[in-house]
Every structure is written in C-alpha cells, then in structure tokens.
Amino acid sequence: MSSEQGHGPSAGEYIQHHLHHLQKNFNFENVEQHSIVDFSLFNFDSMLFSVVLGFLGCLTLWLAARKATSGVPGRFQAAVELMVEMVENQAKGVIHNAQSRKLISPLALTVFVWIFLMNAMDMLPVDFIPAIWHSAGPALGFNDYMRVVPTADLSTTLGLSCSVLLICLFYNIKIKGLGGWAHELIAAPFGDHWAVYPINFLMQMIEYVAKTVSHGMRLFGNMFAGELVFMLIALMGGYMSLSATGIGLTIGHLVAGTVWTLFHILIITLQAFIFMMLTLIYTGQAHDAH
C-alpha cells in the first residue's frame, strides 16, 4: 500500500496499486509503462514467479520420476502417475500420431502443472507477498509494486498461447510438408478453386489469430477477475475499522473470502486443464489433413 501520507489509500488507489506490475527495461532500470503495448520493458514480477514456479514444477516431477519404483508405489508417486496417465489419455484421444505424442504429451503435462502452479499463487492472501515487498522492495532499490499471479498478466498468457501457435505451425509443416500446408492455407474451408483462394487464406488467418488470442485471453480473464475479486474481499476486511457496521464487514469478509477461495480452487484447476486440452486440440488439428 502507498500509505506514506499518514492515512491509508482509498479503495481505488489500493486496487490500482495492486494492479501495477514491477516493471524493468532491458537495462534492468525501473520504468513505468505509459502506452498499452510497450515492447521496451518487461514485467519483472511475472517473470520471476513464473520461472521459479516452472523450476519447482519440473523439480517435483523429476523427483517423482527419479524415485519411481515398479513395486508398490508410494502416495506421491501414485498421485503423479495418476496425473501423467490422465494427460496421456487425453492426448491419445486427440492426437493419433504416436511419434508426435512422444513430444506433445510431456509438453501438455508441463503446461498443465506449470499453469496450475501459477494459478495457485491466487490462493495466497492478496497482501501477503506485496506487504513483504512493501518493506523489502524499496530497500533493495526496486519500485514498491508486486503482483504475484503470473497468469493474471496478459504478457504471460499470450506468450504461452503464442508458443502453442508456433508448435502448431511446426507440426503443420512437419506433417503436411511446406507445400501441403501452403496448399491447405489457400484451399481449406471453401474448396480448391482460384476464385476463392483469397477468401480461404483470409479465413485461415482469422482462425489462427482468433485461436491464439482467445486461448491466452481466456486464462488471463479468469485469473484477472479472480484476483480482482480477492482484492475487493480484502478491501471489505480493510474497511471494518472505519465504520459502525464493521463487524458485519468482518463477517462478510470471512464468508466471502472462504466461498470465493473454495470456488477458485475449481477455477484454477479447470482453467489449467482447459489450457492443456486446447493445446492438445490445436496441435491435433495441425495433424489433420483436409
């Protein structure tokens, strides 16, 4: 919170402060973003948390794989095996090419675990890490901004969905050949006739763009809305000392916080699962010849 003026920030200021990313440019200087799209800076907090969580997820799975026994599995191994099998089964249903599945199933598993971990940062109290950062950050020479949910950042989710697009393009070329894919691009939805080539090409481009943007926006929208609702609930608790009906607000804060956290457990898992499924479905589409 930016409460250097003696009194606390207003509700709007609190939310705006919490929606501000810790931004750095490529010389690692503190900067602020002024336009909607700015490629000269990056969100340091999202980068930090996503890399740390990705490392944690890989480490956990690696530990499970290293300690795996063919005898009676422990609880941890059984849980990981269940998850791996679930992803493998979903991949089998969508991608019928066993050679491609060797790469795509682990990819889908990584995507699932990583996005689940990043979404799960929402489960931490909204002010927990920002409050630590409020005292630690400025002492280290950083700005006093911190957002802990990497998937509530459009840069992260669109980065992920663009990577999926690149993999789709790779498999399009690998399976159909460059010529075959080019032919599909101009002949696919309406048929192989020179008069409809431009319309076909336009349709294909719209399809690729819409797929990629909606893929990223879906995850971002869900996480961003969830984070904002958590902030509103936190505000409700924050206002309890300021009014006569403070007790009511405290109860509301506890009830709403519990209910939304429980509902959010469903949302974070579901969104990670949907992102993984769509990754599989889009790469599966790259394997289908028209």
Partner: protein, 82 residues
C-alpha cells in the same frame, strides 16, 4: 465528467449482467443436455462429464473476461482523465 462516470457505471452493470445472462443460459442448456444423455446412456457419463467441464470453462471464460473488464472500469478507468 459526472456524465462519463455515470455512463461507465451503467456500462459495467450491462457488461456483467448481459454476460451473466448468456453464460447462465449456456451452462443451463449444456447441463440439462448432459443429464439427459447421461440418463439415456449411463456408460458414457464419465466421458461426457470431462467434455462438459471443458465446455463449462469455455462458456464461463467469456463471462469472466467481461467481469474483469467491468471491474477494471470500476477501479482503474482508462476513460476518465485524471
């Protein structure tokens, strides 16, 4: 200025309300069909259930993106000059 604020407040209400109507109708239709088909062919229920969850997430997403945008307008409004 007050005019803009009022219109933005109205817009937030419309975004959330209309989005909720659409998402609710969609989820209701899909859930009803799922129960119908599960009653008709109980052996397919598990397979259909995972597909239903995917679709529920897809339907939900459009509404939740709307809620996020409405909340953003309510707290960090880009249309109001500071």
């Amino acid at each position: 200025m007050e005019n803009i604020l009022g219109l933005v407040a109205l817009a937030c209400g419309l975004i959330v309300g209309l989005g909720a109507i659409g998402a609710s109708i969609g989820i209701g239709l899909m859930g009803g069909k799922f129960l119908e088909s599960a009653a008709r062919q109980p052996e397919l229920a598990n397979e259909l259930q995972s597909k239903m969850f995917i679709l529920a997430g897809l339907i939900d997403a459009a509404f939740l993106i709307g809620v996020a945008i409405a909340l953003l307008f309510a707290f960090a409004n880009p249309f109001v000059l500071k």
